[in-house]
Amino acid sequence: MNQTTIDPATFAELQATAGSDFVIDLVDTFAEEAPQMLAEMRAAQAAAAAERFRRAAHSLKSNGNTFGALRLGEMARTLELGGLPSSAEGFRAVDALAAELEHALSALKALARSRIE
């Protein structure tokens, strides 16, 4: 899958319907909330709590798709539907998600504040 970090059409549409200023706040909210979701995934993984893990992945998927972070959404979806990963591979998948989240957040912050004239 070869996607840009943020789908420009989705993001532009979000700005158009909710307002650019509002989207700046919304991205900030996501930047505050998303690390908690990720922490919840890791904690659930450590506690072998499958349902908690699935729910946290579900939330990240949902928000990722809202902002046009489609790759992030897709990775979260794979984890949501795949069940609790137990192996080292599973931990690597969550690490990869964390890295993608970081990319997505910095891209979103930049996009939200760049005024398209």
């Binding site: 989705t10 979000l14 319907t17 909710a18 307002g19 509002f22 706040d25 919304l26 909210t29 996501f30 909330e33 729910r55 579900h58 939330s59 998927k61 949902s62 928000n63 798709n65 809202t66 539907l81």
Partner: protein, 468 residues
């Protein structure tokens, strides 16, 4: 204090405490004037009956009947639409004030009357929506989208709190997420379905759950619609609009059911709970129907028909209520009311007279309404009223709501038969022998012969109440 306020052909002169029509003073009782002034001052909102009673009869304990009598009196003068009855809640002044010649002076006058700046009524499309979603980004975005669409939005982050809010405040629609802590969306739907007060609340589920099974389960549990996240704003607007429209129709139906039993029936239920089974007691039954309504409904657009029925029911309910009767059954273009039951009047002989007076009020109100319709180039309406007195079997039948108060028996059948005769003849109000005997000497009546009626012969004497 404004000196005067004008609407239509009427002018209220506050300093003189005088109502004028076309510049001529209209005789109006002091209470009626106070009531009119109170409604005009509060015209931007619905005014509760208790509030009006306090304003018009300050410091006195007054029965609601008195208020209905005054409202009826005002309607006879101002026309039936100027004061709207909001069933179970109160009244509202609906006339538009005259466009002023001097806008500033008029605005100042209005501001002085209301004691504040003029507030515009909120548009009907603006609804109160509750969002339940544990995800903050989703909650904020959905709230923002709906606010931009003109709605008032309240948000909560779990199902438990959503239920608490729904039980303590009025909302028009719930937007419900499925995966939430404390109580998830499915459980909320189950609670709503089993709560008679919230069963009809429209619910749109918004979720990014995968698979049709979950969507199907939501619909089975009573959700009206399902929107996948991220929610498309255009789709959201359409679905919210459609849900609110459905709710409006359901509310109208509920309102009709609420109107099923007015004052007396409600008081009885409060006083000693339900009386299952039934009891035999003397009463007077009134049945009325709009003449040729089926033909009217087929020739007019449905909105016109519904509006007409609403006005007609309002007038008929007022006529019944102001004479101490209780509307017991409604059927499209007809209704049945009972006088003397479930709450017997001080003197049982008063019930027949009250019913006849209610019938006369009905005919008079309809005449005023017809004059308005004639002025608007609309067709004339006519009603037939049948009244019979005797024993009825009355009681609450099983269900916990007062709508289940019923009344059956020979007297009910006799009143229905009188109404059929009246609807098919030139006489507006027909009464049976027992009613005639009770009102003799107090109401002018004529004995009717079979030739006047759509029957070959009469099994029992029928009398007509003179209407003018």
């Amino acid at each position: 204090m404004p000196e005067a306020i004008q609407f239509g052909r009427f002018e209220i002169r506050f300093d003189e405490r005088q109502l004028c029509a076309d510049g001529q003073a209209v005789p109006l009782g002091s209470r009626a004037f106070d009531l009119l002034a109170a409604l005009v001052e509060r015209r931007e909102r619905l005014v509760a009956k208790s509030e009006l009673l306090e304003v018009v009869w300050p410091g006195l304990i007054v029965e609601e009947n008195n208020l209905q009598v005054q409202v009826s009196a005002l309607r006879k003068i101002l026309g039936p639409r100027v004061i709207a009855t909001i069933p179970g809640l109160g009244y509202r002044f609906t006339a538009t004030l005259e466009a002023p010649r001097d806008a500033t002076a008029q605005a100042a006058a209005i501001a002085a009357t209301t004691g504040s700046a003029v507030r515009l009524p909120s548009p009907a499309s603006r609804a109160r929506l509750l969002i339940a979603d544990d995800n903050k980004v989703n909650r904020l975005l959905l709230g923002r989208t709906l606010e931009l669409q003109g709605h008032h939005v309240v948000s909560v982050d779990n199902g438990r709190e959503a239920l608490d809010r729904l039980r303590s405040e009025r909302f028009d629609l719930l937007l419900l997420d499925l995966e939430m802590p404390q109580m998830d969306g499915f459980a909320v739907l189950e609670h709503l379905a089993s709560d008679s007060a919230l069963r009809d609340l429209p619910v749109i589920v918004t979720s990014s759950v995968e698979g049709v099974a979950q969507v199907a389960r939501c619909i089975e549990l009573g959700a009206d619609d399902f929107l996948h996240k991220p929610v498309n704003p255009v789709l959201l607007k359409a679905r919210v609009g459609s849900c609110l429209e459905k709710k409006r129709l359901r509310d109208q139906q509920k309102e009709l059911i609420e109107r099923y039993a007015t004052g007396a029936a409600a008081a009885e239920d409060r006083r000693d709970g339900m009386t299952p089974g039934g009891q035999r007691l003397p009463a007077t039954v009134l049945c009325t129907r709009l003449r040729d309504f089926t033909a009217y409904a087929e020739s007019e657009p449905p909105e016109e028909t519904i509006e007409l029925l609403n006005i007609w029911y309002t007038l008929m309910f007022d006529a019944v209520g102001s004479q101490g009767g209780a509307v017991n059954r409604m059927s499209g273009d007809g209704l049945m009311a009972v006088f003397g039951a479930p709450m017997p009047p001080a003197d049982p002989a008063d019930a027949p007279l009250a019913a006849v007076r209610a019938a006369l009020d009905m005919v008079e109100m309809l005449e005023i309404f017809n004059a308005e319709r004639a002025a608007a180039g609309k067709s004339q309406l006519a009603i037939g009223v049948g009244i019979a007195s005797g024993d009825v079997i009355a009681g609450t039948t099983g269900a916990p709501r007062r709508a289940a108060y019923t009344c059956v028996g020979e007297t009910v059948n006799a009143a229905a038969a009188m109404e059929v005769l009246a609807t098919g003849s030139a006489r507006a109000i027909l009464i049976d022998e027992a009613t005639q005997a009770a009102v003799a000497g107090r109401v002018a009546t004529d004995t009717v012969i079979a030739a006047e009626l759509p029957v070959k012969e009469l099994a029992a004497p029928v009398h007509a109440v003179r209407t003018s």
